[in-house]
Amino acid sequence: MIALLRRDLALSIRAGGGFGLGLAFFLILCVLVPFGVGPMPALLASIAPGILWVGALLAALLSLDRIFQLDFEDGTLEVLATAPLPLEGVALTKALAHWITTGLPLTMVAAPLGLLLNLPVEAVPALVLGLALGTPALSVIGAFAAALTVGLKRGGLLISLLVLPLYMPTLLYGADAARRGASGLDPSTPLLLLAGISAASVALIPFAAAAALRMNLR
């Protein structure tokens, strides 16, 4: 499992550019939004939590089809399926690698990028904590959608359609936590719910993803 994780991380950092892609997208979005809506600090501050969360979600979406696609094409996935590590473990490891290369860096740059969008300082802890709690769910759910579409030639568009409704609760609680933080309310309720979604997704979705992989490999 650790070997697989190290392999996936090395692959995504050294080749393909999947590592920087999500971050670059996130940065571009946060720079472009003020140009789009105008340099009004009050307006920017009120939409900043939503923009940051939507940006994180779309950035995670960008690299989803890489989770299984390349391994499926060159046959690595079949080797992994016959390896002693159960396919559930493979799915979880792949999701973890995806999280380390997208979710974790996004969480770390969210605070400085929030400053670009005039995010109130009080909202920063809720935003960062929310991203840290919520992005694992995004990666695991995304791995499930990637497993569903792994056998398809052009699965990219389909992945976004499949994942969009599945991401809804996570986005909603995450953005709400940041909004509550911004208006000085206690963000702990949405944060706890967010943690619940992540914990349940991490525990259960690898089984669904592994089932989908088995069906695709049959």
């Binding site: 499930f144 569903l148 579409t149 056998g151 398809l152 699965g155 389909l158 359609l161 499949l162 969009l164 409704p165 599945l166 809804m168 609760p169 909603l172 609680y173 709400d176 949405p190 719910l193 979604i197 979705i205 669904a208 089932a211 989908a212 069906m215 695709n216 049959r218």
Partner: protein, 244 residues
């Protein structure tokens, strides 16, 4: 004799041969009765005027939009557990019907909402969860379309339906948390037994609801029969090609 005998496509085709017209005519009768009664023979509401009459389309279609997903969930489970092809095909057949019901519910709601709420759309929990349901239907149908191998497609869409159901319920309660509701509560609360619709409106409403239910069953049967024939046709073509 159990219900599993209908899992045999031959048996299914034989039974639905005569069941389908019955459902279709019963649906037509109920819909004509319920809608004509509702549209022309009920009084205008004291506050809402004649706009109240859209309830005869809105409530039944919304009801069936949700129940269609439950039916797909059930059919997907049967496919995953017992691997009856008719079940997978029925789930496939139900999805576009459910999608159409969702669209009808969203549209009639928007038409009613403009004069009553002053807006076609509000980010109200019920409206939002219906929009999410709409997206789920789209994703489900798109996945069916995208995969070439039929059995794999059935497997994958079943898994999607299972996971999607969990997230649909989750979204339903998440949006409650997110925004205050503009939409009124349920018109026909089954659990409490009471109801917020007056008798004059209620009877045609129930007839319309039955009509929509029968219409759904008839459409799903029809579409499942088409899918079975489609599959037979493909098998015949494949056999012919192999013989050449």
């Amino acid at each position: 004799m159990s219900i599993w005998k209908y899992a045999n496509p031959m048996q299914f085709m034989r039974s639905t041969e005569w069941l389908l017209p019955i459902f279709a005519y019963a649906a037509a009768a109920c819909l004509v009765t319920g809608l004509v009664w509702g549209f022309f023979f009920t009084p205008d509401d004291f506050r809402q005027g004649s706009t109240v009459k859209i309830i005869y389309l809105h409530v039944p279609s919304a009801l069936m939009a949700i129940n269609a997903w439950f039916m797909m969930l059930l059919a997907s489970l049967i496919w995953l557990i017992r691997r009856h092809h008719v079940s997978a095909l029925a789930a496939r057949a139900a999805a576009p019907v459910g999608l159409a019901m969702t669209v009808i519910a969203l549209f009639t709601g928007a038409i009613w909402g403009e004069p009553m709420w002053g807006t076609y759309w509000a980010w109200d929990p019920r409206l939002t969860s219906f929009l999410i349901l709409f997206l789920f239907y789209l994703g489900y149908i798109a996945l069916w379309q995208a995969i070439e191998t039929q059995d794999t497609a059935a497997d994958l869409t079943s898994i999607l339906c299972l996971v999607g159901s969990v997230f649909a319920v989750l979204s339903r309660y998440a949006v409650n948390f997110w925004n205050q509701g503009l939409h009124q509560g349920t018109s026909v609360p089954v659990a409490t037994g009471g109801r917020s619709v007056a008798d004059v409106f209620f009877v045609p409403l129930v007839i319309s609801m039955i009509g929509f239910g029968l219409l759904f069953v008839a459409l799903v049967l029809l579409r499942t029969r088409t899918e079975i024939r489609h599959r037979r046709l493909r098998a015949l073509l494949a056999r012919e090609r192999a013989a050449q």
